[in-house]
């Protein structure tokens, strides 16, 4: 149903009814905002990123052949934009593992002992993991996000990113090693 609506709207925009593009923007914005927020916490950047996705989608509308749902094509475009964004932000990571908040430190100290107060510190754990993910290289972050956090298969990641299967596997191997190293730094800094 949704795919059919998308296809109809895309056909109308291609035929010159550009006002129908707003319908596509309204339908897909929530999902794209959710996706973009996984890669940045800055709200202004999220809005710019999603806007850039829609502008690119509008300009490249003719490249959608219609053999897969438009939503999939848009998701792939969004991930490409997110990857470009991560690469552009590589030098700007404002949070480092050296400056943990008290809550994050408390979560780290409790993590191995028990599950008590887990829910109380869930927010601290989330900001902590966000800091760790920010330190990863763009490709590693993308792979960890898609493979580990969204539980996608290598084939799906390959289809979404445009990377070959072996490249996804190599990047996943490097990403996990990078993640282990960063968590090791965190652990050493806190406990040793």
């Amino acid at each position: 149903m949704r795919a059919a609506l998308d296809a109809a709207a895309v056909a109308a925009v291609r035929a010159g009814d550009t006002a129908r593009f707003e319908e596509l923007v309204n339908r897909h914005s929530p999902r794209l905002f959710g996706l973009a927020r996984k890669y940045t916490r800055r709200e202004a950047d999220v809005a710019d990123l999603v806007q850039d996705v829609f502008l690119r989608a509008y300009r490249r509308l003719d490249s959608w052949r219609g053999d897969a749902p438009w939503e999939h094509w848009l998701t792939r475009l969004t991930l490409n934009c997110c990857y470009d964004y991560l690469r552009s932000q590589r030098r700007r990571s404002e949070d480092s593992l050296a400056d943990l908040t008290d809550d994050e430190g408390a979560w780290l100290e409790r993590h191995g002992s028990s599950t008590e107060a887990e829910s109380n510190h869930a927010a601290a754990a989330r900001t902590l993991v966000e800091k760790v993910l920010q330190q990863l290289s763009p490709a590693s972050r993308m792979v960890i996000e898609l493979l580990e956090l969204e539980d996608r298969s290598v084939k799906e990641v390959s289809a979404l990113t445009g990377w070959s299967g072996p490249l996804v596997k190599v990047r996943a191997f490097r990403a996990r090693a990078e993640l282990r190293r960063l968590i090791g730094q965190l652990d050493t800094r806190r406990f040793l």
Partner: protein, 114 residues
């Protein structure tokens, strides 16, 4: 043959990694859309594309070139012509010198009389 057991430190780090990933998976999906976002995208789509810097420079140059050339032409045309220009004085002096030379020659020979 059994694989060697991981050290307590490695085990603790693996547990920490697993729990951090679990925390990341538990992040609630935030799908809020700012008010007026669709209109913002629409404005961008309908706005004329920004001209590139080279086009702006060429247009400015072309607009400035014609008045500048006109100003130069007017200034050149209005430039007062000096009655005693250095060239003029040199010619006059040369002419006077030649005439005086001829006069001196006439006076000495007395042959050339008009």
């Amino acid at each position: 043959m059994k694989a060697p057991l991981p050290s307590p430190e490695a085990a603790r780090r693996a547990a920490l990694t697993a729990r951090l990933l679990a925390a990341a998976r538990a992040r609630p999906l935030d799908e809020r859309v700012p008010a007026g976002f669709a209109q913002r995208v629409n404005r961008q789509l309908t706005a004329p594309p920004p001209p590139d810097a080279w086009q702006i420079w060429v247009r400015g140059f072309r607009q400035a070139l014609i008045p500048a050339m006109a100003c130069l032409a007017v200034v050149a045309w209005l430039q007062p012509r000096a009655p005693h220009s250095p060239t003029h004085d040199a010619d006059t002096e040369a002419e006077a010198a030649e005439i005086s030379l001829w006069d001196a020659l006439d006076a000495s020979t007395g042959e050339l009389e008009l």
